[in-house]
Amino acid sequence: MVCFTTIQFLLLAVSHCAAVLGKEAGSVRARGVAPNDLALYSGSSFKCRDGSLEIESSKVNDDYCDCEDGSDEPGTSACSVGKFYCINKGFESKTLPSSRVNDGICDCCDGSDEWKAPAARCEDTCLSEAREKYQDQINKLDVFRRGIEARRKLEEEGAKVIAQKESEKTEARSKMSEAEQSVAELKVKVEQLQAVVDAQSSTASNDDSEKAKAGEEEEEGAAQGGGGGGNDNTAQGGEEEQESFPYPKEYAAPDAAAAEGDEEGEKFPYPKEYAAPPSGGGESGEEGGEEQFPYPKEYAAPPADAGREGEGSAAASEQAAENEQEERNSGEDASQEEDTTTPEMKELAEAKQKLRDAESEVRSLKSKVEATDKYPSNAALVALYEKCFEKTVRQYTYEVCLFKDSYQKEGSSRTRLGNYDSYDEETKKMSFKNGQVCWNGPARSLTVALECGAETVLGNVDEPSKCVYETTLKTPVVCNHDEAKKLEEIVKAIQQG
């Protein structure tokens, strides 16, 4: 529509081009040679481009490979390392491996790689390809222009978010020392009261209260690690550990090395029913001498036959384990019953409560102080922080929440493909790792490649290897001026022939 006239212009430019190039391309010696290299092929002798040999010019393109680097046969298939240059007048020129020359398959749009075949074998498709590409570039440019516009708005939104967080940060900073002071004071107070209470109870020598204390300390430790904002290092470490082993931690191996070993099913020092993945027909293999069933669980034998555990039960137990894990992640909270039989104990309990409150205040302030640290430098991307996008592919709906997590949903079941791991500004790829572990496979993971689009839309989700997912997110966030300019130049170049 708009570009109709420009296409006409393009056609004229092309025919002009053809006339100029036609003269040079005529001789056998120049066949398959890039225009810039023509001088090298015009002398009375030819020096292999790696300098290894000098031959008579009659041996250039004589269908026999003399040069080790293949440079004497740019126009034939004689050298397996040779290169053939298609001029492709009217469209982009191209360099092909010599294996394509005269193999009966049209590779250059001008058909020049099949120069032995009758002309009809390979039609010249350069003009139509140029038109397609031109239209394609125009469309892309349009997307970029709209994308850049949309990006501006997102940047404004993002800037507002950042400004808001920055002011919260300043405020939090100012309150921080006071809050920390009060934590310190409360800690001293709690210690003193504890000493008094301990003295009282040591006379009673009460095992139960010892146990209660131990439990309490553990509880506090857990609350500090996993309960808070979830963005400090300890918290992340804790989460990862939990996820790599999707069962209650008392079943986990005593140290990290052993925990990893359990994936291979060898070093795991506890009853095998606790080892991941949940056993299907296969587990019996190690002891029973029967081969482990090494295929995906949906192919395992049916229940109640030949002594194997059934497919159904294996699937169910895996599902159960996954559900359990999800539950555990979402709600980890246990309020502690305090013993308040003496006044000192009551006071201690109150002091502890105050300490917890104060500590939580510090954490909350800290998270406000650090809130902007986790933001990407791209302000437009901040506007999409923790925003979620969905795409339905066949029976699955995929949900990707940027900087947060990603799921594959089918009916009421949700499978976590991964938690946010990193975003690479260079490659514009966001990776989600440590998703739910696959049966016989790795922990699921997802890579989202961000590409320029007029609005933010999640693309098709692909699974090139088992449980390794890939998708694209079209979004204005990554539309940039430099690339738009490049596109403009390409379009202009096409227009000018």
Binding site: P97, S99, G104, I105, P294, A301, P302, P464, S465
Partner: protein, 584 residues
Amino acid sequence: ESGTIDLFVMLGEDPKAVAKEYALLTGFQALPQEFSLGYHQCRWNYKDEADVKQVDEGFDTHDIPYDTLWLDIEHTDGKKYFTWDRSLFPNPVQMQEGLKAKGRKMVTIIDPHIKRDNGYHVHKDAEAQGLYVKDGSGSKPYEGWCWPGSVSYLDFFNPNTLQYWADKFSFDQYEGSTDILYTWNDMNEPSVFNGPEVTMKKQALHYGDVEHRDVHNLYGMQVAKGTWHGQAKRLSKRPFVLTRSFFAGSQRFGAMWTGDNKAEWGHLRDSVPMLLSMGICGFPFAGADVGGFFGDPNQELLLRWYQVGAFYPFFRGHGHIDTKRREPWLFGEPWTSLIREAIRTRYRLLPYVYTLFYEAATEGVPVMRPLYFEFPGDKTVAAKDDEFMFGDSVLVKPVVEEGATTASVYFPQGQWYDWQTFHKFEGPRTATVKAPLEKIPIYFRGGRIVPTKERARRNSLVMKKDPYTLYVVLDAGKTASGSIYLDDGESMNSKLKRVEFSFAKMVLTAQTVQDTGFEVANVIERVVIVGLGSTEQLSAMSAVSVSGGQKTAMSLVVSGPNRDVLIVRKPDVPIAGEWEIKFN
């Protein structure tokens, strides 16, 4: 536990004579189509049409040749064979045409277990026509469990089943199949997930009330036989069937592979004795999954596997659905280039490989041979299985140790030449040779002439018109001989030509020894003569070709890293003709 044992004793003066007797008894290797001797790319599973396209293009982008792309069980609709999952493969014909346009082929998997699904035509027919193996009672079909879930097994001992099965392959019955589509028969032991020893129970009844215990070992062969006949019926070309289960005689119906191996160095190493065994058991067309089926090979293992796999008679890369992608270009450099080189090595040798298969099909000899096959008098090689002869002219030393940079090679009696440097080894001796990652230790045997095609191409079909190179590798008496088998590479009853080459008394001679009218116009673009003399001697030489009474002066080039190889540059004599090249 069943029947009597028939014992055959075959007497012969050497292993080759015995091999031929065995083939006369059980059948010769079916001559394969040439494409099936190229490289096969398989995975459980190439997921959909876009995936197929992407992998196919990947080979072209990286200039790596391959002939055949394979689809495993996930391509079907619910593991109902002869069907397509149309949500993943909506246009199988178009997909195959895309491959065909580049000269490539496709293989789909077709297993003998049939999903018990009343909407599935094969099941309905089998029930209605009584084509299934019966339960012990003889009244109802035997039921088991396999990929699709609940299944029954077609009784390939029933002639009606064989007939029915063969008809299933016709183009009008196997929807979405085209003339480039071939077949892979898996699970034909038969595999029954919930059966005793993961197979069919011994009381199951076959045609004629024969118990399964009596025919268990034959079942897999019958499946491949039915498939073979199905393909033969629909196409005048030679069938291609890959089978996992086999028996004495299965070589008449295609190729076998060694089943589900692991991505471990030990499995790479063991593939060599396994395939050597297949060769001496009269089933030369055999291979092991390159890369290992289970598990993820690291780059080095994958590379070494390609380097060895290039000499498997059947050369296919394959991997489990739970493994990471491992198409040859996915590991970056130097791996992509090194794997490309390994696969290209196979393609360069294709004329020789095809000739070896002709020999297998007519003489019963293996393609991949234990050393004792060629050197029966050498006691030191009697049990040697860590190196082998690829035909009678090429010695291959597989490198199967992680981190290896050298290899110890035993050279039997005679002269041996490194195929790249032409460095000479005088046997018998054991030598330690360099074997860095880029090196495949391969040696030409003195006294042999090996035909190759040196040009890189994207598959065997488009190599058809390319000119040949002859490696003339002389023995101590400066003589050599070899041959080439030529036909159209695909037809069931192709016209053919056989040409013998010999070098003696400074004359290289080509003589057509068998000719049923096959037309071939290819020429020889290069003759490489190894072991002829020193640089000085070679530099002083001249040569003329004599063809049809016409004499033509030859252009000679002294070449090779040590300048001790004489090349006849563009002799342009026909590959199939009567001619001489005389050296002075």
